[in-house]
């Protein structure tokens, strides 16, 4: 579904992405793991077209995303820190997003998370008055709102209370079962165990490995993702 070929990116002198090539397919739930500053977010942003690679290219269903901005209709993105126009209310943000993405071919919106998070009771609150957690709830609800084929979640559970976190995980599992492609970055490896099928590990702009979770578990003999990763790191 998404194929990245030799994607490289520099910010000034800093090499953020170094020749990344990867293929992601439907039905996969990929954990994108790596230390801080390893290029995870930049890679995600490249897929979203927010960062333009210096060299290499990314295709979506065979089309280069550089020229085909409409592919983003099929993407739901939850940013690491979601910030919205301060003067808007939650309701207005949702309406605006629906407004922007509305077209004849779009499917019915998926407001499950929105209801589960209880956002429909606080629709008239202004964005600037919201706590970080509530903002994350808004971001998460927006990502799932349009039933996208691809979900890109950047640190989805950071700042969420345990209850909301569980709801979100439940939703991710549900979507995974619908044969979608899900990309998650997270520092909290323990919560990824039950979600993911694949693991991508990045370090200093390089993709160290990209394999199935089962393979990784087999290689390291560890069941827990955190242990498995630690084992890999030790080996190197």
């Amino acid at each position: 579904m998404i194929i990245a070929s030799n994607v490289s990116k520099k910010f000034g002198r800093l090499r953020v992405l170094n020749n990344i090539s990867v293929t992601c397919n439907k039905g996969e739930c990929i954990a994108l793991i790596g230390p801080n500053g390893s290029g995870k977010t930049t890679f995600i942003k490249s897929i979203l077209g927010m960062v333009v690679p210096d060299s290499g290219f990314i295709t979506f269903n065979g089309k280069n995303i550089l020229h085909d901005w409409l592919y983003r209709k099929h993407v739901g993105y939850m940013p690491q820190i979601g910030r919205y126009p301060d003067n808007m209310t939650i309701g207005q943000v949702f309406n605006m997003m629906k407004d922007i993405r509305a077209d004849k071919t779009s499917k019915a919106t998926d407001e499950w998370l929105l209801e589960e998070f209880g956002l429909n009771q606080v629709m008239s609150k202004r964005m600037r008055t919201l706590s970080g957690g509530t903002r994350q709830k808004v971001s998460a609800s927006l990502a799932f709102l349009f039933n996208p084929d691809i979900l890109i979640l950047d640190e989805p559970t950071a700042g969420l209370d345990p209850l909301a976190s569980e709801k979100l995980k439940e939703k991710i599992i549900l979507e995974k079962s619908k044969d979608k492609l899900i990309l998650i970055t997270s520092h909290i490896l323990s919560e990824l165990d039950e979600l993911i099928t694949h693991v991508m590990y990045m370090q200093e702009g390089n993709l160290l490995f990209h394999k199935k979770l089962a393979e990784l578990q087999q290689e390291t003999g560890e069941q827990k993702l955190s242990k498995a990763i630690a084992a890999v790191m030790l080996k190197k």
Binding site: M50, V52, W69, L70, R72, K73, Y84, P85, N87, R101
Partner: protein
């Protein structure tokens, strides 16, 4: 695209600074016209407002707005929208709301109190300067990620166009008083060009002197006026186009 414009527009109109700016302009222009028994003195005070305050507010507000909307822009960019449309919408929203402010705050009182010819040209120039400086602000904002640096660039650009440029010109004149050069030089600074167009209506008696001949013969004619407006239009388009080109390639 109109949908985004709508959101930008309503967002800016809800911003207290724009409301304050409108009220400030309205207060000044009304007090200037009602307290001053001499209309021409009122017009003179408003001329300074149009040539100094309007560009300053336009450029600083727009730069700040663009930086403050970084996340909003990010959010929009991740949606199925063309970058060109996002940037154009921001421009239209900013230019539209600041022009609106100017028109309500200063344009209407000027049109109401000032003589028709001067009122029209002053309002037109105020609107054009608002738009031009929004475009310049967007170029400044897209140049650097650092908000402090961006606002610094904006303030410098404003200072350059409203003061430093004229200082250079004055020293230039002392060495080479060339009349053709003056016309070209005036086209290189939208504030100067607007000022000259207003002066041609306002200080017509003084301009009928030596220099006036040069400007009146050029800008006083219909084609000259058309050229002047075209130049101001080019300031908007070229500056905006440069910023758009930069934005299209920008990493967010």
């Amino acid at each position: 695209m109109t949908r985004i414009i709508k959101y930008v527009f309503t967002d800016i109109l809800r911003n207290k600074i724009v409301l304050g700016y409108t009220a400030f302009l309205l207060l000044i222009s009304l007090s200037v016209f009602t307290l001053e028994d001499n209309t021409s003195k009122g017009i003179l005070s408003l001329l300074n407002i149009i040539l100094i305050i309007v560009p300053l507010v336009s450029i600083i507000f727009s730069t700040t707005y663009i930086y403050n909307s970084a996340e909003f822009i990010e959010l929009l960019v991740s949606q199925p929208l063309k970058r060109k449309h996002i940037w154009s919408s921001l421009f239209t929203g900013l230019a539209g709301s600041l022009s609106c402010s100017f028109f309500i705050g200063a344009g209407l009182p000027i049109l109401f109190f000032a003589p028709a010819a001067i009122g029209l040209i002053m309002t037109a120039m105020g609107l054009l300067l608002s738009i031009i400086f929004v475009a310049i602000a967007m170029l400044a904002a897209v140049m650097t990620r650092d908000k402090a640096k961006g606002i610094g660039i904006s303030i410098f650009l404003w200072l350059y166009f409203s003061l430093l440029f004229d200082v250079f010109i004055l020293f230039q004149f002392q060495d080479y008083p060339l009349e053709k050069f003056m016309i070209i030089a005036s086209a290189c600074n939208p504030i100067d060009l607007s000022r000259i167009l207003i002066l041609l209506k306002m200080d017509i008696s003084a301009l009928m002197g030596f220099t006036g001949a040069v400007f009146r013969d050029f800008f006083g004619t219909q084609p000259g006026l058309a050229i002047a407006f075209l130049v101001l239009g080019l300031w908007v388009m070229v500056t905006f186009w440069l910023s758009l080109r930069k934005f299209n390639r920008k990493d967010l």
